[in-house]
Symmetry: C2
Subunit: 518 residues, 2 copies
């Protein structure tokens, strides 16, 4: 009898494909959902098919664009079949929605490829963008802005809820065609583009109430702006989702793009060649919106409409389409994806949080720090998926590179560093490396919380939950730690003495266990 | 119905525990074997219990040592149970074998902990060390040297086979006690140690035929020497297994240790505090053996007796206890462990090897390079286990950090870099970073083979094996590539044109597909 894990995993899991037939690009996202409630991005593939190109005032998707769409969808369909997709969602957005021949084009695509698409209304498109954002970023109030090729959706969030929305027929492709590349558009194009957008925004009476809120940027234009900025400032973290781009820097990028011919733009680090022609219109729209709303800047979301479609499906049977605790859910998901031994992780979390609570008079930290410690403890062994040897360093790598949703970048770096502290690690160069993200005092925070994870890990070295309870008495010069154990924990405590050597340095007191326990 | 992947994996897999009751330390290795033929190190745990300490000329394991052994075995047993070990192998080596009360001590341990141990004969210990090495390093001829706490095993390998062996009752613990720490051992201790060992070696007539061979170093002493040296030269790769330590550097480390009191040794980077007292005896023994055999140096093996016990069990039903193609087997194992989509990996390997063969007149590479290319192609997607986004960089990380057996460190770095080339990567800083391992010409080798993996990956972008055959015609200025396809591969070829932009630079010719294919 010979099983194959990957095959078994396939059998017990479901692969969901979502194709977004957009005005600029056609994209497929494959998500795998496990029967244990986990989910992960399996793969993504995109093709800049530009079906919204040259639609003209007659609003007709032209035959070459249809041909490109058919070939692309065929490729994506083949890719989906090769990856054993169980459920496929096809959605079509602005170009198809606004075209007079949209329905016919979808019929052609269906006849040629076998895949059917649902045209999203402006409201639906806005809602899916919102679902993509609200399930992956810890937003409370903000203005979600999804700039596509043929439309822009604006969604006002209050207390994580979608309270107002709009879908405007202006995207990076048609704004470029109408204002920046048409014969005779001349130098006044940008001004006309901005004034056209401002008039549209002025008609949205509710937009006034978004004044001063952070923008939550969705779509290729937004991601490109984020990538360009990250390259410019040599940003230390390799994650785009959650990246914050202040207004001033958007304006600077916009100025840079304005003064460059398209050919030259193709060499801007962070910008793809295929977007070089339409990025200026997108950037100008963002810049104008920031000014219009008086917003401090944009937080880039790597998740949008496709992820929204996925989450609606995923949470279908559950508590509703928006999860309450994004970070908590993401941590649980990571524990499944990286096959963390749950019992041990829970025990390390329990013991380190118990230490945290009992040492509060020394460190003075509060609920924010406590939450980060809990996450770090639960995830401290994720690195085992790479290799057991030096796995604390692999944990660091995973947490700094895989996207833990619902945390700010600073929180991500803190959780990664605290989790890595359970094994040997040189903190100093890492604290320097992420100095652009960390804040004053974060070094001592990492050392203080890191040592708690390390102590808890050592106290559960046998992974059998031998220590049931820890009681600390804080004296003038030392912390006396008593264990209630279910078995002899002498070796665990000796391991702890051996491995935890700088408690005194970070807490200003020595720790000690009663002699008879060692 | 709710499955749990980790649980299902547990059900479909077996966890094997191997405890080695050695003179210096007691170590447990947990290996997980999958029903798909894969295996991985789950965890390791050790405790320096020193049961061989103070045995004295009466060769009795003393009560404090028995007490330490019982407590340690109890911890390891608890750890094993927490990890659901299915099969446990306990082996006892030199200290127990040579002690007059060895059998009683094992009985005590069994009564107190429930775990039973088998005493290995010198021949068995030698054979397991050999099995550990031969299954994880691509050795042909060499002298395996396993220095333990209470004995040293020497095994001559010819053509990967164990042809001669010896087990000598000298290890780092008893050599220290007998020559270096006894009252009045004075300054002549090292000379006496060496002369004692040399007399023993001279009695092994077959050892003469090992003259000039590489030593394959097993055990804690060897690993420590490797770690100290790596720290001293700031070695770039974070893998110990397969690390080569030239004779001259062993002598230098030995000199360093000789001139230092034990307390000071505890601060040598790479050396654990617990080994500081016995490392000099071990290092002196290695240094003397290198001189005795005229060997160029030691290749450190991270695998030894415990892994040998595992491989005997693992290959039990298979082709015999030593695998022929260590690297090939390890690559297959990685494909299972990191859940590579096998069909796509095989297609990328097929296409890149086909390109390699057809371009041989341009690159002039041979079977060694071809083999590395094949491995890189099969492993190019391992990084997906971390995250799909930028997964080529995660592939690089995994291949540089997880232990791909049977490859030299140079080969490991080459395979990792070639595999990473299928996505965006800045090669220059990486080639510099691993400059201490790479050789002249390796930069162009990486670029040339990397681009083949990238082309093959692009030609299978839909992962559906659409390209059945590739035929290249090499002209003066260009390479014309024709595809035999089972479907429209136009988008794949366009992806290839878009992503592969420096073929001309590394091969001195442009590539082109027939217009009608694009």
């Amino acid at each position: 009898m010979c099983y194959n894990f990957s095959k078994m995993e396939d059998i017990m899991s479901t692969t969901v494909g979502i194709i977004d037939l957009g005005s600029n690009s056609i994209r497929l996202t494959l998500m795998q959902t496990g029967a244990d409630g986990s989910y992960k991005l399996l793969d993504e593939i995109k093709e800049t098919a530009r079906i919204g190109e040259n639609m003209g005032p007659e609003r007709v998707i032209k035959p070459p664009a249809v041909e490109r769409a058919v070939r692309t969808v065929r490729l994506l369909h083949r890719f989906s079949r090769a990856n054993n997709v169980d459920t496929m969602f096809g959605v079509a957005t602005a170009a198809v929605r606004s075209a007079v021949n949209g329905v016919q084009v979808l019929e052609t695509i269906k006849n040629e490829t076998g895949l059917s698409f649902r045209i999203l209304s402006g409201r639906e498109e806005a809602r899916y963008a919102y679902l993509g954002v609200a399930n992956t970023l810890d937003i409370k109030d903000g203005l979600v802005v999804d700039i596509g090729g043929g439309s822009t959706e604006l969604i006002l969030c209050r207390d994580r809820k979608m309270v107002c929305w709009a879908s405007l027929p202006y995207g990076a492709v048609n704004l470029t065609e109408n204002h920046l590349s048409a014969p005779g558009s001349g130098t006044g194009g940008l001004e006309r583009l901005e004034s056209c957008l401002c008039s549209a925004w002025r008609e949205l009476s509710w937009l006034e109430s978004a004044r001063g809120l952070e923008l939550l940027g969705v779509g290729g234009t937004m991601r490109s702006l984020g990538r360009i900025d990250r390259k410019q400032i040599n940003y230390s973290l390799n994650i785009l989702h959650g990246y914050f781009l202040p207004s001033g820097r958007v304006n600077a990028i916009c100025g840079l793009l304005r003064d460059m011919p398209v050919e030259q733009r193709k060499h801007i680090p962070g910008l793809s060649k295929e977007r070089a022609d339409i990025i200026l219109a997108g950037a100008a729209a963002v810049s104008a919106l920031l000014a219009f709303t008086g917003s401090p800047g944009i937080r880039i979301s790597g998740s949008g409409v496709r992820e929204g479609v996925f989450f609606e499906h995923f949470h279908g049977g559950g508590p509703g389409p928006v999860v309450d605790d994004v970070a908590g859910q993401s941590v649980q998901n990571f524990m499944s994806l990286y096959r963390v031994r749950r019992q041990h992780a829970l025990q390390v979390a329990k013991l380190s949080l118990s230490l945290f609570d009992q040492l509060v008079s020394i460190h003075g930290y509060g609920s924010w720090e406590r939450r980060l410690l809990g996450f770090a403890a639960l995830l401290h062994d994720t690195g085992n998926v790479v290799s057991n040897f030096a796995h604390n360093k692999h944990t660091l790598y995973i947490l700094l590179n895989a996207r833990l949703d619902g945390l700010s970048h600073r929180e991500t770096v803190l959780v990664a560093l605290i989790a890595a502290c359970h094994g040997k690690i040189e903190l100093k160069p890492l604290l320097q490396q992420y100095g652009d993200i960390l804040e004053p005092g974060d070094d001592i925070l990492v050392r203080r919380l890191g040592i708690l994870v390390k102590m808890a890990e050592n106290l559960d070295r046998s992974e059998s939950g031998v220590v049931e309870e820890l009681v600390c008495s804080i004296g003038e010069k030392e912390v006396l730690m008593k264990c209630k154990t279910r078995d002899d924990a002498g070796l665990e405590i000796r391991e702890l003495y051996k491995n935890v050597t700088n408690f005194n340095k970070v807490y200003g007191k020595r720790f000690r266990f009663p002699k008879e326990d060692v």
